[in-house]
Symmetry: C2
Subunit: 422 residues, 2 copies
Amino acid sequence: MKAEIISIGDELLIGQVVNTNASWLGEQFSLAGIQIVRVTVVGDTREHILTAFDRAWAEHDVVVVTGGLGPTHDDITRETVCSFFDTPLVFSQLALDDITTMFRERNRPLSDLNRDQAMVPASARVIRNAHGTAPGYHFQSGEKHFFVAPGVPYEMHAMIEDDILPLLRTALRNTHESVTMLTTGIPESALAEQLDGIEGLETCVGVAFLPSPMGVRIRLTAKGTEHTDCQDALRRVENFVRDRAAEYIFGTDRQTLEEMVGRLLMERGLQLSVAESCTGGVITDKLTNISGSSAWFERGAVTYSNESKTAMLGVSSDLIAAHGAVSRETAEAMAQGIRLHSGSDIGLSTTGIAGPTGATPEKPVGLVWIGLSTAATRFAYPFYFGSNRIRTKQRAAQAALDMVRRNLLSLPQVPTILTKTP
Amino acid sequence: MKAEIISIGDELLIGQVVNTNASWLGEQFSLAGIQIVRVTVVGDTREHILTAFDRAWAEHDVVVVTGGLGPTHDDITRETVCSFFDTPLVFSQLALDDITTMFRERNRPLSDLNRDQAMVPASARVIRNAHGTAPGYHFQSGEKHFFVAPGVPYEMHAMIEDDILPLLRTALRNTHESVTMLTTGIPESALAEQLDGIEGLETCVGVAFLPSPMGVRIRLTAKGTEHTDCQDALRRVENFVRDRAAEYIFGTDRQTLEEMVGRLLMERGLQLSVAESCTGGVITDKLTNISGSSAWFERGAVTYSNESKTAMLGVSSDLIAAHGAVSRETAEAMAQGIRLHSGSDIGLSTTGIAGPTGATPEKPVGLVWIGLSTAATRFAYPFYFGSNRIRTKQRAAQAALDMVRRNLLSLPQVPTILTKTP
């Protein structure tokens, strides 16, 4: 089953709005086993919309159109789709009831513009909108489907999840399951070596490695006609990955590393504090993005100057003078300092050269020392994150959070592959 | 002049990567007066790429292709464009020199895969890549242009800015100038009121308000055949905006508020330190994204717990008990505390309820007190940023940085519109 997404709206073409609808749809459809073969973006122009409809309907089994269903005059998707399918607008009591309910709940009067949204293409099935006023439309011809949904993300999401995908899954007549395993601390090539043999393990389970600066995601997708077989095969491949790459896997699907670290701290009743130099607040920003983080995150110190490392963390100026601010000794002393000053169970630190300036032959741009201190142990390791300042901050934050995860789970501290000089 | 963008890559179709390249190109081309009429996204599949090339080249004056130029076997854009233009690959000494230089700078050995990237389509002009190994290609036929650039954003951006747009601007033969004025601290509707009359001021200057949670951008676009007239008209509208909304404008085009604050601090030889509670490190993260920030940023404290506010900033526990952690008194004491402890010239603080929990009837989710302290003054103001946790952190950071800007420029401290309760 091949599909095309058509996104409609001038604001997409001039770059005022990023087309996150298309990427969200791409992910949902891929996970459901439907291949998106093209995304076409056109403006609110009849001629361009019609050309896109023509081609998509001729060439693909499923077409999903989003955008241009609003009540104002610049939204022309409804009229254009009527003309494309050669069908008139008719009144839908179902659509009007939904619109009326929505306005009653919001305690706002119904305008004529909104009432007009209950006029729908005669040959379409109405897709109800749980979060807005514009209903969606579903045209079908044999095995082919043409859907139209609003461009407002949460309105469109609900229609896809509650109506369109269930319908297409039934049409697909096969089960399709997937899981994405999230790893960090190991490059794609090394991970592929660890997982050698995974490709041929189960013929019905596809494997994709999805690398990013924050880590590699492994997506396992099982397709099969028998639900149980399919689930079993997927679990076998998942276990194969867990057996061979256990220490690198921090979560699945949409989890984040900071969320997993927070959960571990919470379970164990422990508190974390952080002393950041080169990461400049990225770690504490990530931690405090999690609602309820005040239960396990005590404080952070962004010690950019040497003086602040001494004053806020008790790192002796002699130590900094002897080893430099970017050194194992300083990283360890920072982690120890923030732990003791805060009374937290774990102290975490970063100190490095984010660049582009500040490098020496021994300490290149991208070198970051990450340190950790608990009552039981104290250590620091060097990492090399390349020459992009922002990316170095992000990658160092991820590696630092992973150090906490590894400590809490009693895993080997640092993957050796990353501690080598480049 | 009508253009189409073709984005190539499986990762775009499955939603692994959001197509920010297309929105960036859309913005740049619109600003240059070139209309993007379609964006087509296809995967790394020869047949689909060729269909997209065919249609774009037949229907539009300018085609910009990005992606699929990497050195591995799944990148097939180069081979496909050769077959589309029926031209062989030939060796380019210029491309090899650039690639060799890049590897020498990174102190890494040149692989055969990278050496192969110096093979380019014979009928294309090579577009040099200042930041990566894949050169771009430029095919021309009469007045029509077909460009191919890598999908790596910063490599593509440089090619567009340094090569492709200057060339197209010359081809356009009319001047098209624009400036984007960046404001913060004033909602779109209030800004539009301040600037009432701007639309009719100069017929050849278009005005667009582009709102975002961080502030409203005002894009002024002048079109005309006479360069001087066009520039003059644009300057008149720009001055109109500056006269009426001076205090809200922090910069133009791609500048950031943190960059402007850093520049002001640098010019005045002042240092800033920051105490963050609810923003959790966002402010120091933004400040330290700027290369050279150690000259004017001294330290940050992320005081999430009440104890840390007392220990790191000297905020008395009696004061917190009397007024609460989210209060004018605590915000002022935090700003004062970080200033005195750091010896910096300016202390900045945030304390608020990012939510979703922690609210009371008097202190709703989204309430943030922002405080500032210098040797001469000390104050704090309340802001209301709504119920989204992440957005509240971001908006509070922006408002806090703007407070520093306003202080440095002796502007009225806080726009009254934002200090009202919702």
